[in-house]
Symmetry: C2
Subunit: 756 residues, 2 copies
């Protein structure tokens, strides 16, 4: 593959060394209210989510220009628009920060972006070091383009340099304005020698950021800016550095409701102390997450991803969903993985998410912002997430937490939420006894199949089987009233549903996707487009509706029909004909999204399914071909340190194998669990860690260090003739390592029977 | 002032010679469905208005690159991003077309944009001429950025080169898409040697239009483009030209509903014949408009504006309102001026506009797109417009045309529309007997004064006086039932309203603006902000509510209190305190819009008011200081050939005198009428042309050639001791030149009594 950089595991960084890869490489920084989407240059949109509405903070640009006093030559240190011959140019993708470093004519410059733990604020640090042998006299100019004209009406904005803020202050005061956050500041830790507040003043009416007119002189205009279509923030600092001397500058950009708030935040964040303190918090956070589980396998990249980067990606998902919005099921799935990293935070996010359930048991597709469409699968993700939380934490009190609904005044216990979800799934069935398809399920692009509430989804029926299995596990273990009755009732419904699935949904050795409102089969043999779908097969294999030998045959079908060089396509053949009996999947370009891309979420389901039937080699091979260093897909564009939503399928008319949309995918959480829980087989359970490894036959064992309920388990897997569990030197029966005293550490050896 | 170019009156062009003026200079091209907003480089947004929704066609870029085969050097011929040393670089602002010309290293290139009479299509022509002495081998590359991803979801778009279209074809087929116009084409008159359809493919992932990566080689990639965030259209043509040889290329860009339509339009417009034919139509149109009225005064610039450019600007307004939307009152005012240029079209636009009246007599503020807010002044513009149409055309049949309402099924006669408007104005009065202010009147930024329907507007009461005077004139001249009764009733109401205005609205020698819902006076002596407003004074002077001597005093007040170096401010002092008893005017930055800018619409009312009381010198001086060549405001940025919405007032904290928002203003129509009807005093009337000149004392007469009811009147004004009318050599009584036989030509001399 085309090398773009390297991991620095000691610092938990990825260092981008090729600054011009196929596509921009992303990093995300965030707190609960603000998210910053950065590329390798530190460019990108930051936005706050306020009352379910996004409010951009910075549109795109964060630039550090340097202008030499003697020659007048200028360049920008973090983007290098002018393609100067930099001596150093690289980016440190950090966990919670982002640093672009460069060196030109002996001047080292670094630019770091950081998001503090709270507030709608970005923090920036610039470090300059004279690494030449002569003194240097120059000016530094920053450039950001904050979102100011909130009502789009430029006559409302007043912008000025504010001495007290030590920076720029923009206030957009419009009458009848619904947005509260109309003030923006851009402050520094020291007084600027000049400033500009409009694009025209800095770039020039006919100029641009690549070659700004203002830098043809030393001093910025220091004009007051009114009635500007494009406000910017630029601060000038005149600097003299002796050889080896260093200069640091600190900045904060934020949005507030009024001048008083602005004044507090501008002063709070634009300084070294605050920066160092917030940076320390980020380091501590990623260190804490790392410690929860450290794997050591024969594959260093796998270890790096599981130990560091997938955790970061799940953590993004549990707070920001898919960034463009927080999907109910997306956040739940990420919590399912994230729960092992931070139980209290997982609990908090779980309760917040459940507020968006409807009283009928289903839930809204997306909150923050709201997206409502009659999708039917939301409840299928509730019980599994709650179960994962219970197993990880042992904290049954969560079931009694009172949580509201999106469309009802009532507050009810979390258990009732789970139960309402379960009831919705079992009660919403069609004439075949299968789950009604409605506006879609996991596959939210098959969004027209069942809008009349007649079509039925086989996949959703299988998901209901999995969900109800988890529900029963909750019932069996939690202190719940009417337990026996509920279990019996659920089991009876499961039997009925299982029969319906096998009767109507299983043909020619594999599972259909479903039946449309018009009784057409989707994903059935003989269909010219979409004859076989991946997810019904893998989910059936994860479920208990088939005997193992049948599961194996189904997975053989998957290998034969859906595999390509870099993963498994979501269905085959792709749709070529737009159909309003199917929905947008059939309108999508071939090979893209739910029209036969290698959709990584689905690929991770497949890895789990492999492990469910003991096919560790297949699982491992799938993980390998799916990653950035697959020689058969050498330039997909994906960040080595992040999982993307998809690779364009082989049927794409161009850009086959291309990986857009990294980070914003449920694949990371599922990949994490696929690796730790399924491949390495460390399953949290109610009464301990259940070990059930499914290692590739080529591996000579593996190690996992796992924090569970406050206990540190150092687990070593050693291949052997039969399964044997040895804890702290003592042989134990079964494969469950018990929960020991909080704070204790235990050495676990699990000898696993190697397949021949 | 800073010279930006020159007029070429023979060609009806303005030639921009300084391509880097203070701000971009605009030109508009349009038909009934599409409007193109161009700057001097030919860049700018084009958009269609379809079912009251705007659909962009081209976002911004229209670029012609040239790349030399031998050296590989490339540049763009119409923007000159790279600041090459062009031998020629200028723009012809044409009426209905726009041409950018350049010459570099002996290669002449021109790029012309044209909008055909119909269809959502832009037409482009490129002419290349080798003006050097050696053969030239080069490639030409076009670049446009059309709006393609209609639903914002890039997975729906399929783009390809289509041989049959001889160009690029983009189809965005999304399910559940409300927009019908989802196909876009970019076709040429000959087969391209290469093409690109995505920004990335042309500019490069890290490149830009200033320095596109693709031009580092000769040939464009010819890739199929899918899943692109930014589709573009670029076509490559390899050209060899001997010395003096010329090459022409023709293009069309448009949007359609499907491939069949696309195929028809792409072929229809992308060729020389179509281009020449549409160009001819544009020439004919502007020639026809020019002929309707030609003035000849001592001021050549005044003549150019009145004879050519104001007509063009009114014509824009009568179709596209203020471009961001078609305001009911804006379109009506422009029709009032435009009616002398094209009576049938004025009639058609009048009827279309009246469809947006409510059944209660008021009307929606803006249609196409809809803007609804309880403004109260809409009906005040109906009678004056209808009266102007009747006087210009003599066509009373319009009064019987049946027209619908915006909020009612009924269709009623135009006369009933007029009457309902009049009734609304008289019936919507408050406790003082003045007009209720509601959400605002002409001053739509005093939008909070009367929302509770208690506050009263003095200005609107005066406007009602003017409107009802016109209404009575219609009643007196048109064949209307119950004429006498209606006239008597209206006169009685006028007397009552006049008394109320004088009792409550006239204090300390000038008129208030009004009373808020909280009984506060606006525009009253002693108010710290907004003590006196311009419009109530000027409109009172235009009305018949004061004797002439009092009018003179009011206008003296205007001169003393509101004049600045480049016009008259809308009020004084400006608002400094945001007030929810006033509305957004008080939220606006000082000196901007309705917060004390030199709002040109108001300045033109003032010119008319001057003429109403015979102050030709003041009128003329106002016109002079208000224009682009005022040495006291030498670099306002305004196009010499267009009127802008405003100049920033002297109270603006920066950019005093700056002129944003040109073209999109009712000032053009009012300036046209101020010049032709008031200063030069050629008033169309029911039974002829009424002459009532109000020339500046310094002038030695003037000439007006006027087409009226199919008759050509060559009018000459000669200063004299007393007024005398001589037509075709014969002395006539009075000052009304009668309507003669259609097609006849008449020489009119009017000796006017010069003031001392």
């Amino acid at each position: 593959m085309n090398k773009v950089g390297r991991f620095d595991n000691a610092k938990k960084e990825y260092i981008i060394e090729n600054m011009y890869p196929r596509r921009p490489l992303k990093n995300f920084l965030w707190n609960e209210g603000l998210i910053v989407d950065l590329n390798q240059f530190g460019f990108g949109l930051s936005k706050a989510c306020i009352d379910k509405v996004f409010r951009p903070l910075i549109y795109d640009c964060r630039i550090v220009y340097v202008r030499d006093d003697e020659t007048g030559e200028f360049y920008d240190a973090n983007r290098n628009f002018q393609e100067k011959d930099f001596e150093l140019f690289q980016t440190h993708v950090g966990m919670g920060y982002h640093t672009v470093e460069s060196k030109y004519k002996g001047l080292y410059a670094s630019f770091t972006v950081l998001v503090p733990e709270k507030d709608f604020v970005e923090m920036h640090r610039i470090v300059l070091k004279n690494e030449s042998e002569k003194p240097k006299n120059f000016s530094v100019y920053t450039y950001v383009n904050p979102y100011i004209n909130v009502t789009e009406h430029q006559a409302y904005t007043r912008a000025k340099y504010d001495t007290d803020l030590c920076g720029l202050y923009y206030a957009h005061r419009a009458d009848q304005c619904k947005q509260e956050y109309v003030d923006v500041f851009y402050s520094a830790n020291e007084k600027a020698n000049g400033y500009a507040m409009s694009r025209d003043a800095f770039c020039g009416t006919y100029g641009n950021v690549e070659n700004p007119q203002a830098l043809k002189q030393k001093n910025l205009p220091c004009d007051t800016a009114i009635f500007e279509p494009c406000y910017i923030g630029s601060l000038q600092f005149d600097v003299s550095l002796a050889p080896n001397e260093t200069k640091e500058l600190y900045f904060a950009v934020g949005t507030c409701r009024n001048y008083e708030e602005t004044s507090v935040l501008a002063k709070k964040y634009a300084n070294k102390t605050a920066f160092d303190c917030e940076m320390e918090k980020q380091f501590a956070l990623s260190e804490n997450y790392a410690k929860t589980c450290l794997i050591e396998t024969e594959d260093e990249y796998l270890d790096t991803m599981a130990n560091l980067w997938l955790k970061r990606q799940m953590s993004l998902g549990k707070t920001w969903g898919r960034v463009y919005g927080k999907g109910f099921r997306d956040v739940l799935q990420d919590i399912t993985g994230f729960v092992s990293l931070d139980k209290p935070l997982a609990r908090e996010r779980l309760l917040y998410t459940l507020k968006h359930q409807f009283i009928n048991g289903n839930a809204i597709r997306m909150f923050d912002p709201i997206l409502d469409y009659p999708y039917q699968d939301m409840p299928a993700w509730i019980a599994p997430t709650v179960l994962a939380y219970l197993k990880e934490s042992g904290d049954f009190s969560v079931l009694n937490e009172q949580v509201g609904y999106y469309d009802d005044e009532r507050k009810e216990s979390v258990f009732t939420h789970v139960k309402r979800g379960m009831d919705y799934l079992f009660n919403t069935q069609g004439k075949r006894g299968l789950s009604l398809w409605g506006g879609g399920d996991w596959n939210d692009s098959l969004d027209a199949c069942g809008l009349q509430m007649k079509g039925e989804s086989v996949w959703l029926s299988i998901a209901t089987m999995n969900c109800s299995r988890d529900y029963i596990e909750i019932l069996e273990n939690a202190p719940v009233e009417n337990k026996a009755e509920l279990i019996a009732d659920t089991k009876a419904k499961r039997e009925k549903l299982k029969s319906a699935i096998l009767e109507h949904g299983f043909e020619n050795g594999y599972f259909l996707y479903g039946f449309t409102d018009w009784d057409e089969k989707v994903g059935a043999k003989g269909n010219e487009e979409g004859e076989i779908f991946l997810n019904p097969q893998t989910w059936a294999v994860m479920s208990d509706i088939l005997p193992d030998v049948e599961k194996g045959k189904v997975m053989d079908m998957v290998e034969n029909r859906l595999k390509c060089d870099y993963g498994y396509v979501l269905q085959d053949p792709p749709f070529k004909t737009a159909s309003d009996h199917l929905g947008r999947a059939s309108y999508f370009e071939q090979g893209v999204y739910e029209n036969a891309s290698v959709y990584n979420h689905g690929v991770m389901f497949k890895v789990v399914a492999d492990c469910c039937i003991g096919r560790g080699d297949n699982a491992w091979n799938t993980l390998k071909i799916n990653r950035y260093d697959n020689p058969k897909n050498p330039d997909s564009g994906v960040e080595p340190y992040a999982v993307s939503n998809m690779y364009f399928g082989p049927s794409a008319v161009s850009k086959k194998g291309y990986a857009p949309l990294s980070w914003i995918t449920g694949s990371a959480g599922w990949m994490y669990r696929a690796i730790v829980e399924y491949l390495l087989g460390v399953h949290p359970d109610f009464n301990g860690l259940k070990l059930k490894p499914c290692l590739p036959t080529s591996w000579k064992g593996a190690k996992v260090e796992r924090l569970f309920r406050g206990v540190k388990y150092s687990i070593e897997y050693i291949p052997a003739d039969e399964n044997r569990l040895v804890v702290d030197g003592k042989e134990m029966a079964g494969n469950v390592v018990p929960v020991y005293e909080k704070g204790s550490e235990h050495k676990v050896i699990y000898y696993y029977a190697k397949k021949v």
